[in-house]
């Protein structure tokens, strides 16, 4: 059957972009051009809309007119139904961009009387295609034929022929099919349309419904294999291709303030990295939201847009509460820098949340996103799903260089380092807020559990909520543990007293030394005085002696002169006599 149709060309498969948000990304360009694609799924999962958007986008964005052959809805119904998505089919039909062809078969009206074929369908489709030069065709839902025509053998043979014929026509076709019990479609259409199969799903878990899309198969093309959540809103389809992107985001070396100077100091004095993911976890009422609000305010002050998702409080309540600690967020909301997105966690399914987040971020283009808190998502036993969702959000935000701040509530009794959604691996900077119970007091402590790429402080700080915001204080670690609150104040007083005594000691020592120095100096002076007087005396004596010697010599000369003797001779004689005495 299909082997004969398989065209193994070396050329890359040409694709027809759908224009559906996100879909072209996961399929690497769109649907296989010139080939039929099967879109299957249960009732109400969006098959018709998928096909319709494919045609409308084709006609409006890619200049490829299309034929919508409906086996279920009449043209009028179709026009009305999709007008809610902003598609004006009437206009497209008028401008020969689209043909709506309603095929209706009523079994009760039909009598089967022998051999027949579905050439009539072919002719109608062919005529519709040729009348506007259509490049795209949607058959929705061709399986209705099985209900209208009794002879399955003929039908199956004809369907096979139809799909081959569509290929020969070179139109890019979407064939929708209702989901079967064991097969992808009730009538096993996947047997005929084997180039590309897309499955749409609409599941309800924990009372939350989520639409998902999966590319089951795509011949000759790479494609994402995951189930991608999608939503249908006023702009049509929107599929989230987040997980396919991997860890390829660029990183920034820019640092941004956390809004709390003392916390910045703990983070190398600079704050968080831009585009990083910050987790603040802690027990109830510990100040997670306050820390988040600080960050939001700091970002707004820098002129950056902040998107604040609050899942527990209403924006008004949050603004009021933050005002009590001196953070006024209202002006930023008014100036448009800060936007709140408040939705109850159970309002939609997880994927819907993801999709809404995605859309809100794409629309608002914030620099900072705050999710406060994420725990509320965990209803029942959905931990893995929650983790996947958060991973996608984090991934998506990182791709867009958006700094994310996530708060997470740690329940009492569970290990502190354990966040409910086991997020640790996703987080770049993890701030831990914990309560420290001591001496009948419950105080708050903050420390940095981890912070990738920076030499962060390892100190536990006491976290104090004041009327001018969050303050971090040094805490005291003593033999009895970490001291906080009044114990800290007592310790502070104690230390202050100690310091005072030490200061006094030092002063005293200084005075003593000064005194000693003075005594020493006095001593030195008196010694100098003694010495001076002694020296003067000695000098006097020396002078006297010298005077005496001089006088004696003078006397000798005078005596010799008086005797008129030869002094020299006498001197030599004296020397001779001296020698003799020695010998």
């Amino acid at each position: 059957m299909k082997e004969s149709e398989k065209k193994l060309t070396n050329n890359k498969l040409i694709k027809a972009p759908t224009g559906i948000l996100g879909f072209d990304e996961i399929t690497d360009g769109g649907l296989p051009a010139g080939r039929p694609t099967l879109v299957c799924g249960g009732a109400g999962c969006g098959k018709t809309l998928f096909g319709m958007e494919f045609l409308v986008r084709g006609a409006t964005q890619f200049n490829e007119p299309g034929v919508f052959m409906s086996f279920e809805e009449t043209n009028d119904e179709l026009i009305k139904n999709v007008s809610s998505l902003g598609f004006d089919l009437e206009d497209l039909v008028k401008n020969k961009k689209m043909v709506l062809e309603h095929v209706h078969i009523e079994r009760s009206e039909i009598e089967e009387t022998g051999e027949y074929d579905l050439e009539g369908l072919f002719i109608r489709l062919g005529y519709a295609i040729d009348s506007i030069g259509a490049k795209r065709v949607v058959l929705d839902t061709i399986e209705s034929l099985f209900a209208g025509l009794p002879n399955q053998l003929i039908l199956r043979a004809e369907l096979r022929r139809l799909f081959r014929w569509l290929k020969e026509k070179g139109v890019t076709a979407i064939i929708t099919g209702e989901r079967g019990d064991e097969t992808l479609t009730r009538q096993g259409l996947e047997e005929y349309v084997s180039d590309c199969v897309i499955m749409l799903d609409h599941r309800v878990t924990e009372q939350n419904s989520t639409r998902r899309l999966r590319v089951v198969k795509y011949r000759g093309s790479i494609h994402g294999t995951n189930e991608y959540p999608f939503l249908i809103n006023e702009d049509g389809f929107s599929i989230l291709p987040v997980t396919s992107l991997g860890l390829k985001h660029t990183v920034s070396n820019e640092r941004i303030s956390s809004g709390i100077p003392a916390l910045d100091k703990m983070l190398e004095g600079k704050g968080y990295y831009r585009g990083s993911t910050v987790l603040i976890s802690g027990t109830a009422g510990i100040g997670k939201t306050s820390t988040a609000a600080h960050f939001a305010e700091a970002a707004c002050k820098r002129g950056e847009r902040v998107l604040y998702f609050c899942f527990e409080e209403s924006p008004a309540q949050l603004i009021r509460n933050m005002l009590s600690i001196g953070i006024d967020l209202a002006p930023w909301v008014q100036s448009g820098l800060l936007q709140f997105q408040a939705t109850g966690p159970t309002f939609y399914g997880l994927e819907m949340h993801l999709a809404v987040t995605h859309k809100a971020v794409n629309d608002f283009k914030p620099k900072v996103v705050i999710l406060d808190p994420i725990n509320t998502f965990i209803v029942g036993d959905k931990e893995i799903e929650v983790k996947t969702m958060l991973m996608r959000i984090v991934d998506f935000l990182k791709m867009n260089q958006i700094t994310a701040l996530i708060t997470s509530l740690t329940t009492h009794g569970s290990p502190l380092e354990h966040t409910n959604a086991s997020l640790s691996s996703l987080i770049d900077t993890w701030l831990m807020l914990r309560d420290i119970e001591l001496n009948g007091e419950r105080n708050r402590g903050m420390y940095i559990l981890k912070s990738r790429g920076m030499a962060n402080s390892n100190q536990i700080r006491e976290f104090v909520l004041t009327n001018h915001g969050v303050e971090l204080r040094e805490v005291y670690v003593g033999a009895s543990g970490v001291l906080t609150g009044s114990a800290r104040i007592a310790q502070e007083a104690l230390e202050n007293a100690e310091v005072l005594t030490r200061k006094q000691d030092i002063e005293q020592k200084k005075r003593e030394i000064e005194r000693k120095r003075k005594a020493l100096e006095a001593q030195i002076i008196s010694l100098y005085a003694n010495f001076d007087s002694e020296e003067a005396e000695a000098m006097k004596m020396i002078q006297t002696e010298q005077d005496t010697i001089k006088r004696l010599e003078l006397d000798k000369v005078e005596m010799a002169e008086s005797r008129k003797a030869k002094i020299e001779n006498k001197q030599t004689n004296n020397k001779r006599n001296y020698k003799k005495t020695i010998l």
Binding site: V103, I105, E111, E112, T113, E115, Y116, E119, I123
Partner: protein, 113 residues
């Protein structure tokens, strides 16, 4: 082949049109070219009409290959399709009309026999 050739295209073949219009059976046979099935269908139809409705019927043969836009009117999907336009209600019979009994049933002629 002969009968089809006579009636190919949007040619009306009327047989004894002198009768009153209210008794007239207006039948339309949709085909796509002169395929064996189309010829068989026409032959069968002619035969049945001659036997059952002698003198009070017309057969229109519509070749959709030549007039594809006519397929919408009666929601033609399968070919050949026989439409009983008159008398109302409109009946639709698909196939080559080789099962005479079913054709008669489809045309509401079985009861009158």
């Amino acid at each position: 082949m002969n009968p089809m050739k006579e009636n190919s295209g949007l040619k009306k073949k009327k047989e004894k049109s002198g009768k009153a219009a209210k008794d007239m059976w207006i039948l339309r046979l949709y085909v796509a070219g002169q395929t064996p099935k189309a010829i068989t269908a026409f032959t069968n139809l002619k035969k049945i009409c001659e036997e059952q409705l002698e003198g009070k019927y017309t057969i229109e043969v519509i070749d959709l290959l030549q007039n594809p836009h006519l397929a919408n009117e009666y929601q033609i999907v399968a070919l050949p399709t026989l439409i009983r336009k008159l008398p109302v209600p409109v009946r639709k019979i698909i196939g080559d009309l080789s099962n005479t009994e079913r054709v008669l049933m489809g045309l509401d002629l079985l009861a009158s026999i």
